[in-house]
Symmetry: C2
Subunit: 303 residues, 2 copies
């Protein structure tokens, strides 16, 4: 393709982390404990996949990615809150995330609950343009953009989307599930916010309804490919590279793609979804190359 | 005053609960568990003080309260989420709320965390106009109203407001605190959202900047009066009328107004704040009578 994804991802990651940094209060040791916890989890690294998808989708339809950046940051805050709450003892009870102690281990359970709540709430401040320096004085390209983004993101993150997915994930634990049930759960738990990232990118780039349909199809396929690869890595990934334990799905008797259809078929399925995602982008020029490379990266990644 | 508060409160309560009901999916036994939990806590009664303040403030500045109703409902969802999370074992560990088992007792801890998250998220869907039937096709009186309301509410509910208040409340537990520290905590924990309710009412009623200043002063004073009365009821209230236990502040060694300045001085202080609240409303006609009666009710209530 002649497109250097590694350089692109690194440049966007730096840019996104600078923007995220500017969206929370500066944090010395005398900062409020809940702000320290928000920062601890938000700035703990991670792939920043969702904001990158938002930015890349905006650029792919010919928009200025500066418009998509704050929306991508808000989505990353919501993603981080969902990880903090999912890691709680009452939920998945995980102690390690991105190679660091999870929020409730580094702080305490009450602080982790509140830090998650605060990141979720702050995301909507950011989307409304009051979430920090840097975006406050920016005039959106369309006056309706912030409200449309809030509508998309709140539906994707709420009970019609991500929350119902997390609920189903917990209810399914230790129970046999069909491929159909598994896919529905993933479409909600991770798919909805990945699709929202791409949809907000298209929206902020001024894309058409046809663009929106194609990019959302792209998002649904990479969302499933991403999840299948996650399941594969949980079987054969290197905990040192991933920064989290492997084998936990088997331990918790979770139904996964490898447990349902076997490791080899899961790999074939991930690639099939990658190909469907690429097909949805066929009408677009080189500005969509980052999205193409990302689809490829999602099924090749080792963390 | 010639104003019948009891009838007014009952009429508004019915109206608000009908609106809240329409903002969540209908709920049979086959409804998603998280939606059942959302409904369980949201429809568990309560005074509906915040939406009533929002509606009454809108009317007091000459607006149509139908505009304020969905905003008040969104604020009530956020209030309910904050109660669900505050009641969790890792926070206040309360088992009874409004005379019913708390959400994590009636369901389970994970479901309660998610139901709180979902109510908070759904509030922003409602504010953005995509949160349910009934408000979807309504054109706001000002195109910027929804975004301004989201800005106000997200700041009041987030780490600059309510969440920092809850954090401080927990950090203060079992520690001596000054009147100044106690007041700051309450201004954040309950005051911020009470002020937001009134501010959104003024905004949706098309009030001026001067209206906003006066009504926010009213809100700050009734917020403190409300909290002082809460502390008083925790000492001498009737658990059967309140629907929750009394004496818990003493048990948890919480600093309260009665513990700091004595029960009698606390009652005098509550009335003083009531009077300041009434003074802020002096320029307004009879349309502000519900707000006046509410200020009075707040220091007279027994639950």
């Amino acid at each position: 393709m002649g497109f250097d994804l590694k350089t692109y991802l690194e440049r966007q990651r730096v840019r996104i982390e600078e923007a995220l940094d500017g969206l929370l209060p500066a944090c010395g040791e005398d900062a409020p404990r809940v702000v320290q916890a928000m920062r601890y989890s938000l700035m703990a690294g991670g792939k920043r996949l969702r904001p990158i998808l938002c930015i890349a989708s905006c650029e792919a339809v010919g928009g200025d990615s500066e418009t998509a950046l704050p929306i991508g940051c808000a989505i990353e805050m919501i993603h981080t809150y969902s990880l903090i709450h999912d890691d709680l003892p009452a939920m998945d009870n995980d102690t390690l995330r991105r190679g660091k102690p999870t929020c409730h281990v580094a702080f305490d359970e009450a602080t982790a609950i509140l830090a998650g709540d605060a990141l979720l709430t702050h995301a909507f401040s950011v989307l409304a343009g009051v979430g920090g320096q840097g975006f406050r004085d920016r005039v959106p390209p369309s006056p309706s953009l912030p409200l449309q983004a809030i509508a998309i993101v709140s539906q994707a993150a709420g009970f019609p989307g991500m929350i119902e997915g997390q609920m189903q994930d917990m209810l399914l634990e230790g129970q046999p599930a069909s491929l159909e049930v598994l896919e529905r759960m993933h479409r909600l738990k991770t798919g909805a916010m990945i699709e929202a990232s791409v949809a907000c990118g298209v929206l902020s780039g001024g894309g058409s309804h046809a663009d929106m349909d194609r990019f959302c199809s792209y998002a649904r396929h990479i969302g499933l490919a991403f999840q299948i690869q996650d399941d594969i890595l949980n079987v054969e990934g290197d905990p040192n590279i991933m920064g989290k334990a492997a084998g936990t799905d088997h331990l918790h008797r979770k139904t996964t793609y490898p447990s349902l259809i076997g490791l080899d078929a899961a790999k074939v399925l991930a690639v099939a979804h990658r190909n469907e995602a690429l097909a949805a982008l066929a009408p677009y020029d080189a500005k969509a190359d980052p999205l193409r490379a990302l689809a490829d990266y999602i099924v090749r990644r080792n963390r």
